[in-house]
């Protein structure tokens, strides 16, 4: 598809990925070419989550009561525009980015590209879906507990959360600044490296590893049979490319509570006035979570921040022994939209990803081998070079 066809496809699509489409995308690329300003990312189409500002385009944060026209472009977007990339559109998301199903009560749910009756996951579900169906080349999203990696895993694409603080967050609507990351979605690890290396967010040259050590996170939660099967096939593939494995049993209940305390306390502080003024317009899941953040005592937040330090130190120690730590990205494959609001779904989607929002380590999801619905393999590492070295070798295979 050329750019004009991709714009048409984005407009025609019934998956509900876009809240705004830039109908002039093809003309903008042509104009850049004419003046010789189309750089190394000439014509790369961006699907930008609707909590990230692009000057002159509407921004809602997944909430119509927050809609405005953005005056500036976020640095996390402008670095790609400077190389000739163009924004295809702003993508549908979980309301306020405070959820992982992408069932948005105002704009409707985003539909899984592999089965439209299923969720995409979220909260960057529109960006993941747009990349998965081939209309966008790079999805730009945010990840506060797994919001880039979860939808990427459920849609069968690659989702990358850089280390904490690696990217500027100006022009990105904050949810919980201690945990917020900007992240990226592409169809392959190769695409991710090709695009991110241009803006110096990924290494340009990688040596294929001869031997490496990896740990498998065990005991975190119970996986579905489908996830379990695909995950162990992915582990076999890691072994086939030179990985030597250990199994690491981890009780994460306290870590999960710590992330929730930080997320909800900071989100409640960000949105308290909105909750008082527009609470009645919010989806019930969002207003319940924000209200819980209002009700949490300061001792919970401070304790949670101490747990965050403790788990970060623990993982820093682990990364001295292991090159990478792996797990399924989510404990379940995509679930039906109708059933996704069930309370049991949320922890199954978050259990593995949220750990690295607490520790700040880089993490990526890559598709695991499966004949059915997509399953993600999550790889986390001490730094980006270690991460991409293993992820690229995994994608290429033995």
């Amino acid at each position: 598809m050329n750019i004009a066809q991709k714009v048409e496809e984005a407009k025609r699509s019934t998956y509900n990925y876009f809240l705004y489409i830039n109908k002039r995308a093809a003309e903008e690329v042509e104009a850049l070419r004419k003046v010789g300003r189309c750089g190394k990312l000439c014509g790369v189409l961006l699907a930008v989550k609707d909590n990230i500002e692009v000057a002159g385009m509407p921004i809602t944060n997944g909430a119509p009561y927050m809609q405005k026209i953005a005056e500036n472009t976020a640095a996390a977007v402008s670095m790609f525009l400077a190389e000739g990339a163009v924004v295809l559109g702003k993508t549908n998301m979980h309301e306020l980015a405070l959820g992982v199903t992408n069932i948005n009560p105002h704009f409707g749910p985003t539909k899984n590209p592999h089965d439209p009756t299923l969720i995409t996951g979220g909260s960057s579900g529109g960006s993941a879906g747009a990349v998965a169906i081939g209309v966008a080349d790079l999805g730009i999203g945010t990840d506060t507990g797994g919001s880039v990696r979860i939808p990427a895993a459920l849609c069968g694409v690659v989702g990358y959360k850089p280390p904490y603080g690696r990217l500027p967050t100006d022009g990105v609507i904050p949810l919980a600044p201690t945990l917020d990351h900007v992240g990226f979605i592409t169809r392959t690890v190769g695409d991710m490296l090709d695009i991110l290396s241009v803006v110096r967010l990924a290494p340009t040259e990688l040596q294929r590893p001869k031997r490496f050590r990896f740990a498998i996170l065990m005991g975190v939660t119970e996986n579905t049979r489908h996830v379990e099967k695909a995950f162990w096939k992915a582990v076999e593939r890691l072994e086939a490319i030179g990985g030597a494995r250990d199994e690491l049993f981890l009780e994460t209940y306290r870590y999960s509570a710590a992330r929730a305390a930080i997320l909800l306390s900071e989100a409640a502080a960000s949105y308290y006035h909105l909750l008082r003024g527009a609470g009645g317009h919010m989806g019930k899941d969002v207003s319940t979570l924000l209200s819980a953040g209002v009700a949490l005592p300061a001792v919970a937040y401070i304790t949670a921040m101490r747990v965050k330090e403790e788990v970060t130190d623990f993982f820093n120690t682990l990364f001295k022994k292991y090159d990478v730590i792996v797990s399924p990205t989510t404990a379940t494959e995509a679930v039906p939209i109708e059933e996704a609001s069930h309370l049991a779904v949320r922890p199954k989607l978050l259990a593995y990803t949220e750990l690295y929002n607490l520790t700040g380590h880089p993490a990526i999801t890559v598709p695991a081998p499966t004949g059915g619905l997509p399953v993600g393999l999550q790889i986390a590492a001490r730094d980006e070079e270690a991460l991409f070295t293993i992820a690229k070798a995994y994608e290429e295979g033995p």
Binding site: L275, A292, A295, L296, T303
Partner: protein, 34 residues
């Protein structure tokens, strides 16, 4: 008491208040604070 008052200012329903209390309790338990 202050929590109840705070939640009253948010004008949420009593069933939602109950859910909020459960969620807060679960987090406090997870942090071993109760």
């Amino acid at each position: 008491m202050y929590v109840k008052k705070l939640l009253e200012t948010l004008q949420i329903s009593s069933s939602e208040t109950e859910e909020v209390e459960k969620l807060v309790e679960k987090i406090l338990e997870g942090l071993q604070l109760v």
